[in-house]
């Protein structure tokens, strides 16, 4: 297992946001974590990347227990994240934002930059524009490209489709597929369950801080309960 979360409990003050979440991501997979607003998806990702501490349980990455590793050191072991809301540095140019992704590494990044620009030609056209003045879709590209600049073993994506027009969502999702095909493992958090389940190999369903279902993604697309709760009810073709 590349990433293994074992029974984690996470609190905000007295509120228990995660009540014993366990999940696994194997090398090469796309795993999606779906659930309603407030279910604890973001908290799960933040715990993996070390922004939140855990009250109990553990996070294993690449066979090592990283539960107590400070957040800023986790990018070095191979965890890259595109955070909820994108977290683009508004006063930095696109290129500077991308270089921030390589902050923890040393050496020459021109090849990696070229690779990101090849994946997102739009960013190459805008490379000197301030991040804060980009559109939502462009900012999402910056956030994903920036995470790739850290050469992650696993890429954590927190609702990349949020607020984007359907065409852009399709574009972003096909790029995620491409990134995975090039060898990066992906853990994708989404409220847009339909498309996430079509893209992913496996899926977990999170409800109020607990995993209530885990199955191959294709199975969940046909699961009546999941259809009811996350796919707008009625059976239809997908």
């Amino acid at each position: 297992m590349l990433l293994e979360i074992k029974d984690i409990h996470v609190h905000y003050g007295k509120i228990e946001a995660l009540k014993g979440v366990s999940l696994e991501v194997d090398e090469g997979e796309i795993v999606t974590l779906i659930g309603a607003n407030g279910a604890g998806k973001t908290t799960t990702l933040k715990t993996i990347s070390g922004l939140r501490g855990l009250s109990s349980g553990s996070v294993f990455f690449d066979g090592k227990d990283i539960s107590r590793l400070p957040g800023h050191k986790r990018v070095l072991v191979g965890i890259g994240q595109s955070p909820e809301g994108r977290g683009v540095f508004p006063g930095m140019t696109v290129t500077e934002n991308l270089l921030m992704g390589a902050y923890a590494r040393r050496g020459d990044f021109s090849k990696d930059l070229a690779e990101v620009f090849e994946l997102f030609p739009r960013l190459a056209e805008r490379k000197d524009q301030a991040g804060g003045t980009m559109s939502g879709g462009e900012q999402q590209m910056v956030a994903i490209g920036r995470a790739l600049m850290s050469k992650p073993k696993v890429l954590l994506l927190d609702e990349p489709s949020m607020g984007l027009a359907p065409m852009l969502v399709a574009q972003i999702f096909s790029i995620i597929k491409e990134i995975n095909a090039r060898g990066t493992t992906v853990l994708l958090v989404e409220q847009n369950a339909q498309q996430a389940l079509q893209l992913a190999h496996r899926a977990y369903v999170l409800e109020t801080g607990r995993v209530v279902k885990s199955a191959p993604a294709a199975d969940l697309l046909d699961d009546p309960q999941v259809r009811e709760a996350y796919l707008g009810g009625a059976l239809g073709q997908h």
Binding site: L51, G71, H72, P83, P90, G91, Y103
Partner: protein, 322 residues
């Protein structure tokens, strides 16, 4: 009145730029710390004070009592610069470690940090008034009086523009401040640590995801901001030749004014705000008399806040380049 103004405007511009350069150097510390912590480091004025006494300490240590020249002057100035920058920068780092970090660790509010800052400020002033000035500067029972600084070099006119004589001390202050500003600008905009500082000020949580060690960035910010106050401290001691335990207070408030004037969090705003404040004070003094200087300075602050709450260049290190 107008004639007065015309005859005095030249000299008062030079004097204004020199004071403004000192305000600007101190303002940098307020603005940088605000950028990364959204906190007004109230004790920054004492960081400045410590640097000024460090310079005097070295002057006494070297046995300097009168003006120097030539290579001795250059060497001494460099040594004093090093001493005041190290003292102020070091004190700022200790201050952060002792007065702010423990509160941050426990998730205390910014208001609590502000009170801690005021406490640190009073503590440092009294430490100098009651202990350091009497003991180290050998002025028993006069810890609250002024401590004189010997003249470091003779003041001469270097050149004249019209009827305005440009003196070497004013020139030195302005040039030194501009050089430090340029170095700082390069540091913040062109180096890896500088990018870490800007990332932290724009989005600290995302900065962590990039591998930025926030604690170390905060420490560096205090160090650099403190060192800039140290430069200002040496220039001040050299120009005004008198120090006191509370020498930082009024200067600190004015530098803070300058930072807000330019747009708090904005490095170039600090330079602009400092120079503008110095000029406005000095030009205003021609009309109202120099006893009104401080009133003019703070009236400007209130007016700016009324019409442009984010300052002239707007908030934040974010837009240092954009």
């Amino acid at each position: 009145m107008l004639n007065d103004f015309i005859s005095q405007v030249g000299p008062s511009t030079v004097g204004g730029l020199a004071s403004g350069a000192i305000y600007a150097l101190i303002a940098l510390g307020y603005t940088m710390v605000y950028g990364v912590l959204r906190l007004i480091n109230f004790a920054h004025s004492e960081i400045f004070m410590i640097g000024s006494f460090a310079a005097l300490f070295v002057i006494n240590l070297m046995g300097i009592t009168g003006p120097l020249s030539g290579i001795a002057l250059v060497g001494t100035m460099l040594l004093l610069l090093l001493a005041s920058m190290a003292a102020s920068g070091g004190a700022a780092v200790v201050l952060e470690r002792v007065a702010y970090r423990p509160l941050r660790r426990r998730g205390a509010s910014r208001l609590a940090a502000l009170i801690s800052a005021i406490g640190a400020s009073i503590f440092l002033q009294e430490l100098f008034a009651l202990v350091i000035i009497p003991e180290v500067f050998d002025r028993p029972s006069q810890g609250r009086n002024q401590v004189p600084v010997p003249r470091l070099f003779d003041r001469e006119t270097v050149f004249s523009i019209g009827n305005t004589d440009i003196r070497n001390d004013h020139l030195f202050i302005i040039v030194a401040a501009v050089v430090m500003m340029v170095l700082l600008d390069v540091f913040v905009n062109r180096t890896r640590i500088g990018r870490g500082i800007r990332a932290t000020s724009q989005d600290p949580e995302t900065a962590v995801l990039m591998g930025v060690n926030i604690d170390s960035i905060i420490r560096t910010t205090f160090l650099v901001g403190g060192a800039m106050a140290g430069v200002a401290a040496l220039l001040y001691a050299m120009e005004f030749e008198n120090l006191r335990f509370n020498v930082g207070f009024l200067l600190g408030v004015k530098a803070f004014t300058a930072a807000v004037l330019g747009g708090i969090g904005n490095l170039r705003g600090a330079l602009l705000g400092g120079l503008m404040l110095g000029l406005i004070e000095n030009w205003g003094s021609i009309f109202f008399g120099s006893e009104w200087k401080d009133v003019i300075a703070f009236s400007v602050l209130v007016l700016v806040l009324l019409f442009r709450p984010t300052g002239i260049l707007g908030e934040s290190l974010q837009r240092a380049r954009a």
